[in-house]
Symmetry: C2
Subunit: 180 residues, 2 copies
DNA sequence: CATGTTTGTAAGTGTGCACTCACAAACATT
DNA sequence: AATGTTTGTGAGTGCACACTTACAAACATG
């Protein structure tokens, strides 16, 4: 016994978020996340309820980390108005994009919403994030909606690699998006 | 010989868009699209260069159908200003959402962009759509960007099933989106 | 130190699926 | 009619991978 089960679960979840983010649910073998976490495949299956249970748990961890990052961004901004807080959160989200994992995981999760458990996890995640953004910023519904719309645009920009495309249409889509 | 290879390819592509839209690239066996198209799995592999070739071709068909729908919407609108044309295209896209296939396929394609061929297909698709929207509407870059941002928000709403969620945060995200 | 519990793994098992190949029938061309 | 070409399939092959089981060592507790 080297570690407690709970600590193992945490490190496995980190590995899972990264692995699933890159190759998605179906194309990511459990052996891959087990290897990344430095333990055996069999033990992953003991720690989580199947591959699906692992993915759902990883989704929870993903959205948790997003909320934390947005909170930090808002905190750093101090006492500006709702628009100011939203913009600060936008900047924080842009920093999040640097490591790509959290953003890509969301895309992968959206792609597996034909599995009811995943759909529910995605709803739960966006419930957390959306209610937090709204209450913490105090912004209007329209502003919050816009915040998420451009967040989703960000997902397209990153997955398609549009920052690397010099053509005018791509420049139009990526204009003003904070340094992704 | 019942049909020409080219005609077969077309029906297979329709089946492929639907099948991949629901279950995604990796979770959709080629047998499924073959069955939906009413031919044998082996023949699908003769008609397309592997499962990946089929998926890429389906992506092409998907974006093609999107452009056609947007064009029809714009045509129907007549000679209103750029904003009017954009709104007409938005309505047309909303109708497209009714059949869900084209929208979900885009999400699935974005999730497989770790495969270079798919990433390129997605870029090519959005290049077609974005340049078309911009030139046909004559709208500004900012307006085009906003058009796509809210389009992507639409993807989230549909995949997560947010129209079915009565809670305030979900209402805020779905507000004003044309009847999805 | 004996017994129980938790952490951990090696070595299977079964299945689903991408892709191939040998072969057949429909059609064209001479 | 003979020969070639295109359309089409049934029956495999091999491999990747989700999940299980049997077993072992670390730690706790009496």
């Amino acid at each position: 016994m080297r570690s407690t089960a709970e600590a193992r679960r945490a490190t496995v979840l980190n590995a899972a978020v990264s692995a699933f983010a890159r190759t998605g649910f179906h194309a990511t073998p459990v052996t891959a996340v087990a290897a990344a976490a430095g333990i055996s495949e069999a033990y992953v299956f003991r720690l989580f309820a199947g591959k699906l249970g692992l993915f759902v748990a990883a989704a929870g961890a993903c959205f948790e980390r997003i909320v934390v990052a947005l909170e930090a961004g808002a905190e750093r901004a101090g006492d500006v108005g709702p628009e100011g807080v939203l913009e600060a959160m936008g900047d924080a989200y842009a920093e999040l994009i640097a490591d790509r994992d959290l953003l890509l995981f969301q895309v992968q999760a959206q792609a597996v919403t034909d599995v009811p458990e995943v759909a529910e996890a995605v709803r739960a995640g966006y419930r957390r994030v959306a209610t937090f953004v709204a209450s913490r910023s105090g912004a209007s519904d329209v502003q919050v909606q816009q915040f998420f719309a451009y967040g989703q645009l960000c997902h397209l920009i990153v997955t398609a690699g549009l920052e690397q495309v010099p053509e005018p249409w791509a420049r139009a889509l990526t204009a003003g998006i904070r340094h992704p």
